[in-house]
Symmetry: C2
C-alpha cells in the first residue's frame, strides 16, 4: 500500500472503524458484497462520503457488485490496527469506568484492556468488571510495566488535571477524556474528548422545531 | 437574526455547544473578550474553523479585542436552546445509565432530565442518582405524561431494538445511542450514535507510529 496513513483525517479513521464494525456483522452472511449506498444508509452517511473514505485507502468498488466485504475488512484492519494491539487502562472505576470496561470487554477490538486505576482502596487490588484494579499511587509504575499507551479518563473532574500530568510524564500517548474538563497536552499525545452535554445539545437543536 | 438555523451543519452545532461550555467558564473573568485563536487552542481546533462557525451565526470578532464573551454566550444560547428546554429520559439505569444521569445533573444545561427507565424492578419506583426511575412497561405512558422528547439509550444491546420501536411509536424525536447497535429510525427522529470502540481505534491509529 502506498497510502500515507498519517494523512488520513481523524473523521475518516473514525468512519473506517465504523465501517469495519458494521461489515464484521455481515461477513458471515452469504452476501459477500456491499454497495456504498447500503453502507451509507446503515451508518446514516452519504454514499459520496463512503466512497471518498474508501478511495483514500485505495479501494474502489465494483460498479455492479459493490465492495467485497472480507477484503474490505482485511484492508481496513491493516490500516487501522497496530501490529500488536494497544494496551489500555481505565482511570477511575466508578459507574462510568465500570460501564466502559464492560463495554470494551464485550466488543471485539484488537486493544487490550489491561488495568483499571482508582483512588478508593475498596476498589483496588482486585478485579473489577473483569480487569485488575490498582491504586492510583502505583499508576506510573504499572503503566511502564504493562506498556500501557492509551488511558480512558473516567475519573472525577477535580482529580483529572493531576492525573493527566502524571500520565503524560509516564509516557502515555493517547487519551480518551470523558470528564468535560479542558486538557492541555503536548503535541505527541493524541487527545479525544467526549462530552455528552454537547451531544445532547446537538440533538436538542435539530429537533427544536415541531414538525 | 436572519440565520437559517436548519442549515447549520451538525458539527457546527456541536462546536457551538462546546464554545458556550468553555466560554461560560470564562465569563466571570475580568477578561471579557476572547480571540478565535485562544478559543481554537483551548478546544484543539483551528482558528479558521472557529471563525467560520461564528460567521455562520452572524458574528465577527473585533480585530484588536476578539469576541465579547457574554454576547457570544447569549447569542449561542438563543440559537441552540429550545425556549423551554427539552425533557430527557435515560433508558437503562445500569452503570452507564447512572453515570450519564450523574453527569447531566452535575453539568449546566437547559435540558431537564425527568425520568429513568429500567426493566429491573429493584431499580424502579424510586429515585436513582436523583431521578425517578420507572419500570419500562410504563415507558410509553410516562413519556407522554412528562412530555419527554429525547431518550438516551444505555440499555442492553439485546433489548434496544424493541425499546426504540416503542419510543418512536410514542413520539420521541431525539435519540442518543450508546449501545453500538445499528438503529434504523424514521427521518423525523434525530439519531446520534456514540461508540467508544471507534473513538479508541481512532486514538490507536494516530499513535501507531512510535515517535
Amino acid at each position: 500500500m502506498s497510502i500515507d496513513r498519517k494523512k488520513l483525517p481523524p473523521r475518516t479513521v473514525e468512519r473506517l472503524s465504523k465501517y469495519r464494525r458494521l461489515l464484521s456483522k455481515y461477513s458471515h452472511n452469504e452476501e459477500h458484497f456491499i454497495f456504498s449506498h447500503d453502507l451509507a444508509r446503515l451508518l446514516n452517511l452519504t454514499s459520496v462520503q463512503v466512497r471518498r473514505d474508501l478511495m483514500l485507502i485505495g479501494v474502489s468498488g465494483n460498479h455492479r457488485k459493490g465492495y467485497n466485504v472480507k477484503k474490505l475488512i482485511t484492508l481496513i484492519s491493516e490500516i487501522i490496527d497496530a501490529e500488536s494491539g494497544h494496551n489500555l487502562a481505565i482511570v477511575g472505576m466508578g459507574n462510568l469506568g465500570r460501564a466502559v470496561t464492560a463495554f470494551i470487554r464485550k466488543n471485539e477490538t484488537k486493544m487490550n484492556l489491561v488495568a483499571g486505576f482508582d483512588i478508593d482502596s475498596n476498589k483496588t487490588d482486585k478485579e473489577i468488571a473483569g480487569v485488575p484494579c490498582h491504586h492510583i499511587s502505583s499508576m506510573a509504575e504499572k503503566i511502564r510495566e504493562l506498556e500501557i499507551d492509551i488511558a480512558v479518563l473516567t475519573i472525577s473532574p477535580d482529580a483529572v488535571l493531576d492525573v493527566v500530568k502524571l500520565l503524560v510524564e509516564t509516557g502515555i500517548r493517547g487519551l480518551l477524556n470523558f470528564t468535560s474538563v479542558h486538557l492541555d497536552v503536548p503535541e505527541h499525545v493524541y487527545l479525544k474528548n467526549y462530552d455528552i452535554i454537547t451531544s445532547l445539545e446537538e440533538i436538542g437543536f435539530f429537533i427544536k422545531e415541531p414538525l
